[in-house]
């Protein structure tokens, strides 16, 4: 059975409990008092399919798939305005990140959501050498929707790239090697262990 099926079985219509147990900072969700300050404070507020206040209510209303398949959480820019303003002190930014991560783990995250793709590219990029390779990250971003799209995007971004090169804030040499951690083996061992421990905690086998 898939992780998603496991969780459906385990929580049977108690999505709030599922979130409380498995989502980063998810035990805060029940404390929302529905004032809506978060939704009103979000810089991308109008672009959320369901703004945070609504997400919290949907969780209580057991709208599991609607929440987890939503693009909403992927709209978070991590500006922390909601956290700063929440009168109940909910770590809303982290909850949104947590929900997004959880939806991905369950295989429910929306397909072709650009931020979701970018977030994963970013992680892969940094894990590879222990430090972000901005050139490769940028290129992989441009080409994340295929080669043709990639060329188009690259052309559009050409001027910015040239500007960055001119001011020595980018170097083509980064493509070949670039910066990285020396003890990359150690770093990878740490990450592997951390992932194992976390999966054990949320009842997820393997990755």
């Amino acid at each position: 059975m898939s992780y998603n099926q496991d969780m459906i079985e385990k929580y049977r219509g108690n999505f709030l409990k599922e979130v409380t147990d498995n989502v980063e900072e998810g035990d805060w969700v029940k404390m929302c008092m529905q004032c809506g300050v978060c939704s009103g404070s979000c810089p991308l507020g109008p672009h959320w399919e369901h703004p945070p206040q609504e997400i919290f209510m949907m969780i209580r209303a057991n709208k599991r798939e609607e929440v987890l398949e939503s693009t909403s959480m992927w709209m978070c820019t991590s500006c922390y305005n909601c956290i700063a303003r929440c009168p109940r002190g909910l770590p809303i930014t982290h909850i949104m990140h947590g929900l997004a991560t959880y939806s991905q783990r369950l295989g429910l995250a929306p397909q072709n959501q650009p931020t979701q793709k970018f977030a994963n590219l970013f992680w892969k990029n940094l894990v590879k050498k222990g430090r972000v390779n901005e050139l490769k990250l940028g290129l992989s971003l441009y080409f994340m929707n295929g080669f043709g799209e990639g060329i188009k995007t690259s052309l559009k971004m050409k001027d910015i790239g040239l500007n960055m090169l001119k001011t020595k804030r980018m170097s083509p040499m980064e493509y070949f090697g670039g910066h990285g951690c020396k003890d990359i083996k150690g770093l990878h061992a740490i990450l592997k262990k951390a992932e194992e421990l976390e999966n054990a905690r949320i009842g997820k086998s393997g990755s």
Partner: protein, 299 residues
């Protein structure tokens, strides 16, 4: 003032030939003038910023920052960790807080760190360079080094998000922090008192994944600076700097605006005011040249 020493976490973007390498150049210049010693954490790794969540989850993400902190403890045990990048500072500080509040997570983190022979005590402060300047050096001392006051310049202090929320600078409000304005005044320039977009979001990492939505935010930030009569924007954050500087042409093309507003780091401002050369102040790193600063530096 006696020399001050810190364990330094530079972060990916300030490396050579990375997007905020110019920030690093001006920080080095500024620190030299102020007798601040930055001891780089050996073999530091990426903090995963705030966008790393989807791939990393919670514990792996915390483990990244924990490794840096453990390495710092090992190499410069008694020194506070200082970061110049808002995201680096935030991710590390968040890790510190989360592991402090949740002993279970701390134990798990140490279990992971043990794989590389590391151990975290989690007892050193995590600080932003701005905190060092304000709290350890002080405005008075910062001002006393000024050789070329930036007279006649009007500057919009764009604080942005992550140096401001959720931790922020001690004693400052989330809605209207004043420290950047005070720094602007300390170097003899005029601050835009009513800069409405001072703490608004530039889109952060979503400038890459959601360019249109982010550029709409960026447009407002620049426009408001113009409306307030600013000659340039100053910011403490590499993402803010990059987002508000590099997309101005694209925004102009889309919105028919004529933006060409330089965006500099506080460290650039201080370096110029301290009489350093354009190169030392990293003015050559500006995609939109800060002509007025170049003129002052060239005098």
């Amino acid at each position: 003032m006696a020399k001050k020493s810190y364990s330094f976490y530079p972060g990916c973007s300030s490396q050579k030939a990375a997007s905020s390498s110019n920030y690093q150049v001006s920080v080095d210049t500024m620190c030299k003038e102020l007798d601040i010693e930055l001891n780089e954490i050996p073999d530091w790794n990426c903090c995963s910023a705030s966008i790393g969540y989807a791939g990393g989850g919670e514990l792996p993400r915390l483990a990244l920052s924990a490794r840096n902190m453990a390495l710092s403890e090992q190499a410069h045990g008694d020194q506070d960790i200082v970061a110049t990048c808002a995201a680096c500072w935030l991710a590390t500080k968040e890790t510190q807080e989360r592991l402090h509040d949740d002993q279970g997570l701390l134990a798990e983190t140490n279990q992971a760190l043990a794989e590389a022979g590391l151990k975290l005590k989690n007892d050193k402060k995590i600080r932003h360079m701005v905190e060092v300047l304000i709290e350890d050096i002080g405005y008075q001392e910062l001002g006393s080094h000024v050789k070329k006051p930036l007279e006649g310049l009007k500057i919009a202090g764009y604080v942005g998000c992550q140096t401001n929320r959720p931790f922020g600078i001690d004693g400052e409000s989330f809605e209207n922090p004043k420290y950047l304005d005070k720094m602007i005044e300390t170097v003899g320039a005029e601050a835009c008192d009513n800069y409405e977009k001072k703490v608004s979001c530039c889109g952060g990492a979503l400038a890459f994944s959601e360019p249109e939505k982010s550029q709409a935010l960026i447009k407002d930030i620049i426009e408001s600076a113009y409306d307030n009569g600013a000659d340039m924007i100053v910011t403490p954050c590499p993402v803010c700097q990059m987002n508000t500087e590099v997309y101005q042409d694209q925004i102009n093309a889309k919105y028919g605006t004529k933006f060409k507003l330089p965006v500099v780091y506080y460290s650039t401002l201080l370096s110029v005011a301290y009489g350093k050369s354009a190169k030392e102040a990293a003015l050559d790193g500006q995609i939109i040249r800060a002509k007025q600063l170049e003129d002052i530096a060239g005098k």
